[in-house]
Amino acid sequence: MAKRKRISEENTKQQTGKRQKKEIVLPPVITSDAPVHRQTKWTNKQRTLIFSSRGISFRTRHLMLDLRTLMPHSKAEPKMDRKDKLFIINEVCEMKNCNKCLYFEGKKKQDVYLWASNVPKGPSAKFLVENIHTMSELKLTGNCLRGSRPLLSFDKAFDSEPHWLLLKELFTQIFGTPNHHPKSQPFTDHVFTFSIQDNRVWFRNYQILAEDGSLAEIGPRFVLNPIRIFAGSFGGATLYQNPHYVSPNEYRRALRRSQASKYNNRVEARMSVQLRKPEMTYRMDPTDEVFQTITAESVKNSQ
């Protein structure tokens, strides 16, 4: 009750004060029938456009929808035609009043690429999305408020290289829900985790169950394999190129080739064994055997 009193005092102060600059501070626990204070300080105005190209799989679509539900500062847009040039997206973002963009690009009905971009000045990054698990999977047991602000947890490895630093800043701006966003909830009950492992960025979303740090996974989970980082938004000079990246086409080709060459390898191996086999193992004089006496015992032993 004491805390509530303090709030009411603050409110009166705000009303009487000249400038309404003082931030409204909510107590840790408030009752449901308490009046809602309008948050006025919304400085970090980030809006993220989340949409995709045509020809994405159902799983990618679900992932996209999950991200939309988790990010109250996101906006939607109909699917883009595959033939359209990528820089059109900049105009789309401008029309939608968005300054960040997540664009899912489906290729061959199986590969998913993700563009993360800062519109209109850049930078932008292209990723290959691997291992997608959506929020609707039943083994992910956590749940959180729709629109609560997530904590953004980054691996220490993000500080090691400039390209990781850039990606960290980009992710912070894209995935972080701005403070006092009108659609956001005033509680912190989940955490987005970005980790670097195997030269990839692993994304996880956990619910905070208790203050002591027990968590439950909410989903979605996916792995981002960086391909390139561009200076501009959806284009421009390449700032970074991932040397470890192997395109899925190449990977599949290698697999197929290894399977196809199985027979050839076997035949070649057999041939080479035959070629390498010596005709004589040891040079011997056949006349030496003339002086060997054959006894009954030696015959028995040889048998």
Binding site: L145, L151, L152, F154, D155, Q173, D189, Q197, I208, A237
Partner: protein, 287 residues
């Protein structure tokens, strides 16, 4: 890697002339192996740094960004980083611990700013996952738990059955052995090799054999008398010999009878004694 040798071209489609031309033009170099040029990858560190400075929102307060960079929270068991790539469980645990460390740090930071983090019990708002979905999740969890319990139970039962079978076999063997032992002892008892047997919670003791025989078989009076008179069983031979005892026995000595003094006065004609033959004849004739 390319295999090019102008001197040893036999199976290639290229003719010697073509190769010579190419060599003259500088397209190929003499030698067995010509290395393919390595692909160069762009990594413009300065450009990246400039770009970060350009679009960074680092000047904003932390509360606007809520980003945290930290190592994973210390784990309970020692971690093997080499095996992390192919070990799903340990990888996930690492992510979990990283999130944990961030939560522990972030919540303290928020609390220091006196910003609420916890949702009150009576604060109802739309959730990321619907109630219907959470119901499914719970039922799935329950099902999993139940199935695990069931399998555990079955496993235990299986083990118990295995153990029970063993025990039963042992019991059967023991019972059979007991039976055999019992029959053996009874047999021995019957044959008279042992005198005592425990049977059906009571101890049977061998009684004296003759006594039992007499009880079971008693001859009639006449036989008894005859036995007494003539003797029954045992050796008859030499039974009438004098022994030292019988010779010393003077109980039958009667001084009145002895030394020719004749029978004692008390000896009378026994009553009803049958008369002699002649007398009986004469008596018959008189009648």
């Amino acid at each position: 890697m390319l295999f090019r040798n102008p001197n040893l071209e036999t199976d290639s489609d290229d003719t010697d002339e073509e190769l010579q031309e190419a060599l003259a033009a500088g397209k190929i170099k003499p030698g067995l192996i010509v290395e393919q040029q390595k692909k160069t990858f762009i990594n413009n560190r300065e450009g990246l740094g400039d770009k970060i400075k350009e679009f960074s929102l680092g000047k904003l307060k932390w509360i606007e960004r809520l980003d945290l960079t930290n190592d994973p929270a210390p784990s309970i068991e020692p971690e093997d980083t080499a095996s992390l790539e192919n070990d799903d469980f340990h990888r996930e645990m690492r992510f979990y611990r990283q999130a944990q460390a961030s939560v522990l740090e972030g919540l303290v930071k928020l609390a220091n700013m006196s910003i609420p983090t916890k949702r009150p019990e009576d604060y109802y708002a739309e959730m990321a996952k619907s109630d219907e979905h959470m119901k499914k999740v719970r039922s799935k969890l329950l099902e999993k738990k139940l199935s695990m319990e069931r399998s555990e139970k079955a496993k235990k039962l299986r083990e118990l059955r295995k153990y029970g079978k063993k025990v039963q076999q042992e019991v059967l063997q023991k019972r059979q052995k007991e039976k055999k032992d019992m029959l053996d002892t009874i047999k021995k008892f019957r044959k008279g090799q042992i005198d005592k047997v425990d049977f059906l919670d009571e101890t049977i003791q061998r009684q004296n054999k003759q006594v039992t025989d007499k009880k079971t078989f008693t001859p009639n009076k006449k036989r008894e008398y005859k036995n007494k008179k003539f003797g029954f069983g045992g050796q008859k031979k030499r039974s009438k010999y004098n022994t030292a005892e019988s010779a010393a026995d003077v109980s039958s000595f009667n001084p009145r009878k002895a030394q020719g003094k004749g029978p004692s006065k008390s000896t009378k004609k026994p009553q009803g004694k049958r008369p002699g033959k002649n007398k009986r004849k004469t008596m018959k004739n008189k009648k």
